[in-house]
């Protein structure tokens, strides 16, 4: 929480996300699906099933030095996370995308651990992970 935002990269530390309650904004998702609780459940189950696939694809692109692929995967994670209200994850992915645009792939790779950490906490906030105490509301 005391870790300052890195102005050069725009990184938002994981602890800061927790402090801002930004792991999962259920209200934003509810608004986006016209307050349909059933649809919220469907969207979240799709998100939870698909996001690990996208993160694996990001790792694979990084491992093969596929700059375009890394950028696209970071972009996809950013957009998907933003649409479901997982703003911490979305901002983290945006920072990765920004770094990729300027060719700093090593720094993107260094952010993978933080991405995994954010993912776990996002799952918990959604009430779908191992630590539901972090969540503001259950799905």
């Amino acid at each position: 929480m005391n870790e300052p935002k890195n102005e050069a990269t725009g990184r938002i530390p994981v602890a800061a996300c927790a402090a801002e309650g930004a792991f999962f904004d259920r209200e934003a998702l509810l608004e986006r699906v016209m307050r349909d609780d059933g649809l919220v459940r469907l969207v979240l189950s799709t998100f939870v099933a698909d996001m690990p696939v996208q993160m694996d694809a990001l790792r694979a692109a990084l491992a093969s030095g596929d700059e375009k692929g890394v950028r696209r995967q970071a972009h996809t994670i950013k957009g998907a996370a933003a649409n479901v209200g997982a703003m911490g994850l979305s901002q983290w992915a945006q920072t990765m995308e920004n770094l990729c645009v300027v060719g700093r792939l090593q720094e993107v790779a260094a952010m993978l651990t933080g991405l995994d950490d954010l993912w776990d906490k996002t799952l918990s906030a959604m009430g779908m992970g191992p630590d539901p105490s972090l969540g503001r509301s259950a799905v």
Binding site: E31, R32, V33, L39, T46, G79, N83
Partner: protein, 206 residues
């Protein structure tokens, strides 16, 4: 109205399919840019398109260019869905042929309003195309008489292209869609039927 959603992210695609379905749109969805181009090449292709900017196969702006390269009287209305909100990206998308753009994460009210704008434009476009088609069909049936017609100063016959002379009503009937009904003007009535000239009810009958 049929809408194509081209979005590689499964979650966003699902949300759009469900929400647009609830609004009454008939939704088709693909997850690759090249599939979107194939879909738009069909004869019954949707007229309203939501394109994600970053997709495998073909980027959203390239899909836009491919769609716009096809000449049609009723081009589809294309909305780019993008996480890149900077002016340069927006300008690039619009110059590639997008009609509008929506930033991710989308606002549901804004999405609905922008779709309605697209629907209005499509309906207006379709109405204009229909009117132009009707006008073209009407013009195809209209024969226009123009130029100088040689007419006999006594009997008023007209010299036709074949150098023969035709009664004026036959000539006009042959060279236009006009039809004649016969009547008697007051002067001719007085000249040819003076016994009827004082009976107003008999004048001008066909």
């Amino acid at each position: 109205m049929k809408v194509l959603i081209a979005e590689d992210d499964a979650t966003t695609r699902l949300m759009l399919i469900q929400v647009l379905g609830q609004w009454g749109y008939e939704v088709a969805a693909v997850n690759r840019g090249d599939e979107a181009v194939s879909c738009m090449a069909a004869s019954d292709a949707p007229k309203l398109v939501i394109l994600d900017r970053g997709m495998p196969g073909l980027e959203g702006v390239d899909v836009c260019r491919a769609i716009r390269s096809v000449e049609t009287q009723e081009p589809p209305y294309v909305i780019l869905l993008t996480g890149q909100k900077d002016a340069k990206s927006v300008v690039e998308g619009l110059e590639a042929g997008a009609n509008d753009y929506i930033a991710k994460p989308y606002d549901v009210g804004e999405l609905r309003a922008r779709l309605k704008v697209g629907q209005r434009v499509i309906e207006l476009q379709a109405a204009l195309v229909k009117q132009v088609r009707e006008l073209q069909q009407a013009l195809a049936h209209i024969k226009v008489l123009q130029g100088i017609l040689p007419i006999c100063m006594y009997c008023h016959k007209i010299r036709s292209d074949e150098q023969s002379w035709q009664r004026i009503e036959r000539y006009i009937a042959a060279h236009s869609d006009a039809q004649f009904s016969h009547a008697i003007c007051p002067d001719c009535l007085a000249k040819h039927h003076p016994e009827l000239a004082d009976e107003p009810s008999s004048r001008g009958t066909g």
